[in-house]
Amino acid sequence: MSDKNTRAMAAPGIRKSKAEAVNAADTRELYKKREPIYPKLAHGKFRTVKWVVMAVTLGIYYLVPFLRWDRGPDAPDQAVLVDFAGRRFYFFFIEIWPQEVYYITGLLILAALALFLATALFGRVWCGYACPQTVWTDLFIWVERAFEGDRNARIKLDRSPMSFDKAWRKIGKHTVWLVIALATGGAWILYFHDAYDVIGNFFTGQAEPSSYLFAGILTFTTYTLAGTMREQVCTYMCPWPRIQAAMTDRDALNVTYRVDRGEPRGPHKKNESWDGRGDCIDCKQCVAVCPMGIDIRDGAQLECIQCALCIDACDDIMRKVDRPTGLITYETDDNVDRFQRGEKAVYKFIRPRTVVYGVAFAIVAAIMLAALLNRSELELNSQRDRNPNFVILSDGAVRNGYNLKVVNKANEPRTLTLSIEGDPQIETRLLGAADDAPMQLRVDADRTQDFVIYLTLPASAIDGARETFNFRVTDTRTGETATTPSMIVTGAE
């Protein structure tokens, strides 16, 4: 592709870029060293949107650990906290215990469905705007540009022999990268311990080894994935490009080169008529700005993350040559076909696929919400002793032992009254109960506590092999109650 034309003008005043789609499937070789990509800075609405999204997502990531949320004196006041030591997950007003991890599962299902829906409607918007790999790579390229200049300057710098100028630019770039990477890894650990504590402890060597380990891992991965691997992560490591092919269809809005408008492409000479030729002047600006190193004009391809920067680049050129913008634009495959047949665009946002994703999302969200709203802060479980299964006393009465687990998810201690709903002849003996309150349980705040109770059924009351009843605990103050079924095994035939 290094023929003389690459140096030619694409149109009056517009040089044709020498950019090559080095990461396109046809160009790259499996055992060849990666060819560097020097994405040129694009200007336009999508670039602006991406800057905003970057600022918002990075802002959320770095600042959320510092948000506070008052949960009372006995609980942490960090709004979002994964407390492994205390085995709790806090998210603003939500507190989740380990056995309630299904809330997380539900959240992941919701996220997946939202991703499916967004992909079915708008293509790979996740990849193009919000994926951490995209955001941090974009940030790292911004740093690279700040130190080494835009595309052509960077190419020139890389080809030039080592000099003081080259050295400080490279060192500066890698230093800032490492600082960003460290801040990324450092922010990660803030989600697992109190943010203010862990920052102080981190720099005085007092933090836990796991904090240093994960900060180190995240620093390393941020530096390598966003700094040196970049598009290779998306092309080779990420499964989503493979999966998303099943999520989009011919009615999904994808970043698309309008073949109907663009072809036949070629340089445009001054005063040449636009009739009988395409709008594409083959300036290759779309390739020059592409962070993935592909040519969007080759059509939909696995490597494309649909960041829309080529739209900005092309629109810029179209304005200069006084043609309508949108040669590269968000468009559906079917519509491009329609345009080629001279028909009008048809947008089908409501399709079986989007309806199914939307309905599934709504159902799961409703279930999650209901589960969250009905979450009980008091639970009771009982386990009957099986060894021995039952004990016959000297007077022929039968006794069973039980382990009661009382779960108090409230942030204050509770006093509970235990009652047996069943045969009134059942006699109780609760271990550790006070003399004047033989059926009272005290449970600390935010704790699960075990109690042992022995129930005795007099010989005269034994009727059958087993007798069922319910344990019930009732909060003496709030009236909250929890119950669990159990039984007495008598050993009778």
Binding site: L393, S394, R399
Partner: protein, 312 residues
Amino acid sequence: MSEHDQERERDAHSGTATTGHEWDGIKELDTPLPRWWLWVFYASIAWSVVYMIFMPAWPALPGLAGETDHTRGLRDHSERANVAQAIEELHASRASGFAALEGASIDQIENDPQLLGFVRAAGEAAFGDNCATCHGSGAQGAIGYPNLNDDVWLWGGTYEDIRTTLRYGIRSEHPDTRFSQMPSFGRDELLTGSEIADVADYVLSMSGRAGDVSAEALARGQETYDIQCASCHMPDGTGDRMQGAPNLTDQDWLYGSSREQVINIIHRGPYGVMPAWEGRLNEATIDALAAYVYLLGGGEEAEGAANGPTGR
């Protein structure tokens, strides 16, 4: 690309060089290792060097590595020392629980949730190690080995009684052991077979278990009982804990409640032995065991103590 590479034949389909050899018409492609694989391999080699510097790695020449027979590494790591330290930490973590147990009354134990939890855990572990062989893993007992869950106690069921039994044993070799002996009425020919059968019928009748027995037989049995048995088992059959003589009127039968089993035990005379645990277990463990057994549900309040917490 070296000159050598260019001489080799290239595969038309993949463009990859062949190894240059041919086996029965088959040529092998000289596909290079993936670069990431190579880097992982090199990184592993580098890591092994780091590892050898910091961790024990090589057998050492005598005298070069102190008392060990290998290089110590900069971290001076020893898994054996770690185990010793872990055991020490375990003992230390239990020390506070055992310290709280020392001298505590059973009421104090029961009313302190933390101590109660500790006793139940420590007692259960010690029970499993030392007692379960005879008394069963759930302390449910077996023929000849008392069930410790129920309210039947041969030698007393207060915390103090249970501790004494644990410490000195029953018919053990300890000088302070609890001791008593029921004669072997049949084997030693103290009673005839028919006398034993009559006594057995009479004893079973005390708890309403007599079968189809004539009043004369019961009268004969009672006569023999009053002479031979009443001194220990008491005239009304309620037994005597001072001698470990069981209550014969209740529903609990250590050696079985069938007529044959009762006749058999009168014939041979039981001689159940429990070892003394003093000296084999430390005091704290014996305390934990006694409290554990007491709290299995059958423990008895000491004489004169307030009634225990109960919903009866």
